[in-house]
Symmetry: C2
Subunit: 254 residues, 2 copies
Amino acid sequence: MKLVCIGSGNVATHLSLAFKAMGADILQVWSRDVKRAGILAALTGSRATSNWSEIDRNADCYLIAVKDDAIASVAAELKEVRGIVIHTSGTTPLSILQGSGSGCGVLYPLQTFSASKAVEITKVPFCVEANSPHNLELVTALASLISPNVYPVDSAQRKILHLSAVFACNFTNHLYAIGQQLLEANGLNFDMLRPLIQETALKVQSSKPSEVQTGPAVRHDEQTLKAHKQLLEGSAEWSQIYEILSNSIKKAHP
Amino acid sequence: MKLVCIGSGNVATHLSLAFKAMGADILQVWSRDVKRAGILAALTGSRATSNWSEIDRNADCYLIAVKDDAIASVAAELKEVRGIVIHTSGTTPLSILQGSGSGCGVLYPLQTFSASKAVEITKVPFCVEANSPHNLELVTALASLISPNVYPVDSAQRKILHLSAVFACNFTNHLYAIGQQLLEANGLNFDMLRPLIQETALKVQSSKPSEVQTGPAVRHDEQTLKAHKQLLEGSAEWSQIYEILSNSIKKAHP
C-alpha cells in the first residue's frame, strides 16, 4: 500500500506512523509548512514537499489530515492523481472530495490525538465511508491495517458521532479544567481530582453512563445544590454551567 | 482499631470492607434498614442493628456514612459514646458533629463509589479534618490504614473539592450520557465513544486539562460550531448546553 500524507499535524503524524509500522509505504508528506513536512517525512522515511507539482501521482491512497476548512482546497489539487483520495474529518461530508483522484473515501478516527501522548491505535474506532463498494473495501482494508475496530458510517451519522465526541471529550475536558481552576484558586492540588476523573471514565467502559449517574442533582439534593450555587457566586459563567447541567441531570432522572 | 459503621450504602460498604481488610475490628453496623445493616454486618463479621440503644459505646471510631441531611440526627444519637465520631461527607461542615463522642472528625473519600464496581481504595484521596490536633492524628492514622493519599483539608476547602468533583465527575458523566443518547437515537453504538472517553480522562492524568483542550470551540471553528448547533435544533436543552460550554471554552482560549 503506497500512501501520500497530506498534512503534518497530530492526526497526520499518529496515522502515518501507524501505517508505516504496519508496513505501508509512505511516499511523501505534503504540508504548507515544509519544515513540519520534513519532520514527519524523516519519521516515516519519506520525502517532504510543500509544492503540489511535486506530488507523486501514482500512490494508492492520498490521506488528507488537514484542518476542516482546508480540505476543499487540498482536494482540488488532487484531481489528477491515480489513487483514492481520503479525508479524516468528523464533520466534512464525503462529497467534498468528489472529482478528486480515482475515487474518494473517509477514514475518521474517533479519538483525540495530542502531540505529547502516544495513543493505542488498535483501540481507536475508525469510521469509514467511500463513493463505491469497491472503494469502501479499499478504505476498510486500509483502516483494518491499524485497528480491528472499523465501522462503516455514512456522512450524516459521522456528523452525529463527531457531535457526541464534542460532548463526551471536549466538553468533559473543559469541565476538568473548571475543576482544576476551582482547586488552584483555593490552594488545592489538581492531583486530588485525578483518580476521580479516571474512575468516572472507567466506570462507563462497562456501564451505560445514564445508569451510573451520581451527585447531588441526581439525588435532587436541593440543599447541596444551593450551597454549591453560593460558592459559585463570583462567576456568572460557572454558575450558569452548574445550573444548566444540574437541571438537565434532574430532568433525566426525575 | 474498633469501629462502628453508621450506614449501609455504597460508601459505608466500600470503606468498612477496606478497613476490615486492613485489620480493623468492625464491631457493629447500624442502619435504619436492619436488613441492609445485616448484609454489611455479615460481610464484615460484625453485628447489625437499627436500634440506637444497642450501639456499643466503647468503639474507637464511629464512622457516619449516611445521606448528608441525616448526619445531624445520627450525630445526636452519638452524644454518649466514648470514641471519636467521624463523618464522610464532602459538603457537611465538621461543626455539625460538635458535642458528639469524645471528639469529632471528617474522613471524606474523593471518589465515586458504585455498588457494582470495585474501587482501588489505595488510589483514593482522603480528606481529613478534626476538632483537635490529637484527633486529627487519629483520623489521619485511620485513613492511612487504607490509602497513602491523605490530605488535611478544612471544611471550606472540602466544600470546594466537592464542588470541583461535581464538575469533573457528575457533570462529565452526564455529558457521556448525552453522547450515548445522541448515538443511540441515530442507530450508532455507544461502544464507539468509549475509547475516546477513556483517553480523555487518561490524558489529564499527566497533563493539565486547560493545556490539552481540543475540539471546534478551542479552534474557534465557527463553521463546525454552527453545523453542530443545527444538528441540535430538536433539543433546546442540549443546544443550550452546547452553546454555553462552547462559549466558555472560547473565552478560556481566546
